[in-house]
Symmetry: C2
Subunit: 505 residues, 2 copies
């Protein structure tokens, strides 16, 4: 067949982030993989390819150059361009190995990909994502990092780019000791360990502390990533409802009845509700924990992001019985791509975490650890925090005002004193998953409440992140959401009901 | 008591890498933790502290400044310096929680920390470590990376520092497609996934593919990190002796008898033996694998480091049945602190690996991925490889010559055509663990053969890495090793026999 004809049915997408030459190259690969272009087939000359796709000759040349570099085609001077003889046999794409049958039992949760999808969802003009818990890229202190790197690169010892201890880059552990001291937490360097994000720390804690059938207590609702990791370790999850105050009698019942391995909490600007445990609650909880020798995992990801008064001291700063494990991340206050988290805990626990981490990745990226060390030593963090607190406070207010304006009758929410989120309750007969389904059609998305629970509740709740976008986008998001809610309340909704949360958010 | 007296028994170490002010600060912390300096105790004035330790006043001031920043002490102007009231209660160091009893069952191997210790062992004048499998820091292309960063920093999209897909930074996946094509491996970007080092990939493969009781086939000897990860997943390990040729009849027996989940091999410059599978062996193994639908995990960490002729094409480049998983790392050819590894495999497998990886760390450091992408696109890798191949070839020859000179009668070894290692056999009645014990006293270390096996063999073998040090150091290492061997052969050895490998290497 004439190879030119096989492109009759395909079209380029001028709006895609993918350059045109790459789109053409990928189409050729698809034709090769599906044997439409068999090994040895002659491809159209570059000029003809340019005509077929209505692109410049340079674009056509670039497409062939990519394909040749990747081994799919071969240009013979004076003869033409051909599909490589072994392109398909070697590609692995025509695999007959039944991979899925070879895998270990899959993670238990039906929502197992939600976290990944939430964080990797691309934003564009047409979809305003209020779903991912992410800082605005405009706030990332990239310029500071760049100038710190340029200033200090020559002072690095070359061996610092080699293998370093699993527990963390030593100078960074010392910077973290000082950083912790500023929050009232006393620790020595051997009580501090670094991770590739706090998710890495949570995973390791679960690996080290949990065996199938062990009990763990979490708040309900709570951070999705924690639920996934604890369930993945085979733990049985007990829940403490997040209300006006944490129910210590219920916790004590759990302690007596189940002897849980630990309690996982988010005491300051709780994800997703934004709640802050009061001074008195913290003291009471610590007293109970000390009495029952309960280990507490304190996740303080949002603690620095207060918009008014400083919140009460962390549980770890008050830990008199040695049972609090303090977990934190720089993803929310700096940027997630740094992948830097850390723990402050007993040295015995850190040794065991390190033993486990060496199997997983030997140690966290030296480059990330070195950058964070430079940043912490530069003293730029305090002014950066002042700046983002002010900006996020403003965005919270903008978001709250816009929601009251556009959806005041359909939604209630509490305005949090810090953090990233508004936790909304839907008034009336609309479920948050159905709302999401309709909202996406209107170009706005969020996280439905159900995913923050281990039991099938939360269908009237959802989480909005107010930090990712500038003012105008938040207002437009709230408007779209309000429109959707009003349309649904008046009974005009789509007939599609079989909705899966996975591929959309 | 007078706080000054409590330092009578302590001394500073002028040779330590730790600065003097830090040594003083750490001693004070120890005294606080052990209640020698109780909360509220008054510390000596700076001038007196300087006298006690015979250091400058600046050093004393710096020690106190650290301690204050870390929250251990408090200086009251006009009054003096005091131990903080809550320093100990908050430190967690006096923990009564029985941590070790709370942990999940420990990893099975008695050598569970060896990999970590090997890679994090510091080198100094007194100890020549030929143990860690590491490139010489002098070869790390840090200057290139620095200049690439400076040139391209401004072209990064800010969102590239946010969350990115778990499967890898998209531009890097495309760079890797081209990099693979240069090695004759055809893959599309969705058949490539990045990891935090190849250890991270091995761990994920074990998590995804292995359930307790599953069988896995490895070579004996083989890479320690693979043994640890497979055993950690509860797999039962079958071994193929590394000899002149891989025993396909034995492998076929295993395939029939145990239906192993996969075969893990290191076909090119095998760690630790340096062996290269011939063209014919590869073809025969693939034929057998295709017939039995055997999955092969090909670890190609050393494949690029050939000192003469190019080695035969990888298994993956010849994979006609789609069962080969190709794993590689940039730790050996660039630098380990980058923590960058990758896999080329079927998209189904990659989706599942990504699902598992999101629990572990969401995704690998953007900074590391971006740096590697810049480096691969810069076309500097080929000339870097030419340079390190030449240098390592020279070091191999230096090492081989020095070993023949200093230990020619006590050792035999095969000179490898690439990679990092010399695999030595001891002639006569000396075991490699005993040798290590004695060699460390003479200031040289290596990896005893036993750790590369799952069964108690290899006691006459050991591995030397010839890439980490310059010529003169390799010669001195060989001399010390030869002296130790001769001394032991003549019966003069230490009386200490209870030797544990862990804390020393």
């Amino acid at each position: 067949m004439d190879a030119s004809n096989c492109f009759a049915d395909v079209k380029l997408d001028p709006c895609s982030r993918k350059p045109l030459y790459r789109q053409i190259a990928d189409m050729v690969i698809q034709k090769i993989l599906h044997h439409v272009l068999p090994p040895g087939a002659k491809l159209p000359p570059e000029r003809e390819l340019a005509d077929i796709f209505d692109v410049s000759r340079t674009t056509a040349i670039n497409a062939y150059r990519c394909l040749e570099q990747e081994g799919w085609i071969k240009t013979r001077v004076g003869s033409g361009t051909y599909v490589e003889r072994h392109a398909v046999a070697n590609s692995g794409a025509t695999s007959d190995i039944p991979w899925t049958e070879l895998f270990a039992a899959a993670p238990p949760s039906a929502m197992s990909t939600i976290l990944r999808d939430l964080v990797s969802a691309r934003m564009d003009r047409d979809n305003i994502s209020l779903a991912a818990g992410m800082a605005d890229p405009a706030t990332f202190p990239i310029e500071s990092m760049k100038s710190l790197m340029e200033q200090h690169m020559d002072q690095m010892e070359r061996s610092d780019f080699g293998h370093i201890p699993t527990e963390g880059y030593e100078p960074l552990r010392h910077s973290l000791v000082k950083h912790l001291a500023e929050k009232g937490i006393k620790a020595t360097a051997d009580q501090v360990m670094t991770f590739a994000g706090s998710q890495n720390g949570l995973y390791l804690l679960a690996r080290v502390m949990l065996e199938p059938g062990d009990y763990v207590v979490v708040e309900a609702p709570t951070f999705i990533g924690a639920i996934q990791v604890f369930q993945g370790a085979g733990a049985r999850i007990l829940t403490l409802p997040v209300g006006e105050v944490m129910s210590l009698p219920l916790l004590e019942d759990y302690l007596i009845r189940y002897r849980p391995k630990f309690l996982y909490i988010n005491p300051t600007f709780h994800n997703p509700t934004g709640r802050v445990m009061t001074e008195q609650e913290r003291v009471d909880l610590l007293e109970l924990a000390a009495r029952y020798r309960l280990v507490i995992v304190e996740d303080d990801a949002y603690g620095e992001l207060h918009f008014g008064e400083k919140p009460p001291l962390s549980m770890k700063a008050r830990d008199g019985y040695g049972g609090v494990i303090y977990l934190n991340t720089f993803s929310k206050i700096l940027f997630p791509g740094l992948r830097m988290g850390y723990v402050a805990a007993a040295p015995t626990l850190i040794s065991r975490l390190a033993l486990e981490k060496q199997y997983i990745d030997l140690h966290t990226s030296n480059v990330s650890q070195w950058l964070l060390h430079l940043y912490l030593e530069s003293d730029e963090l305090p002014s950066h925090l002042v700046k983002v607190r002010k900006e996020y406070k403003h965005r919270r207010d903008v978001m709250a005002k816009a929601l009251r304006r556009y959806a005041g009758e359909q939604l209630t929410f509490h305005v949090p004193d810090g953090g990233f989120y508004l936790w909304c309750q839907i008034e009336g007969d609309v479920h948050s998953r159905d709302l999401l389904h309709e909202a996406i059609k209107s170009g706005v998305s969020f996280v439905p409440g159900g995913v923050f629970y281990t039991t099938p509740v939360g269908e009237k709740e959802f989480r909005l992140c107010f930090t990712t976008h500038p003012e105008e986008v938040l207002q437009e998001g709230a408007r779209r959401l309000g429109d959707t809610l009003r349309r649904m309340a008046s009974g005009k909704r789509s007939s599609l009901h079989s909705f899966s949360v996975h591929p959309i958010i």
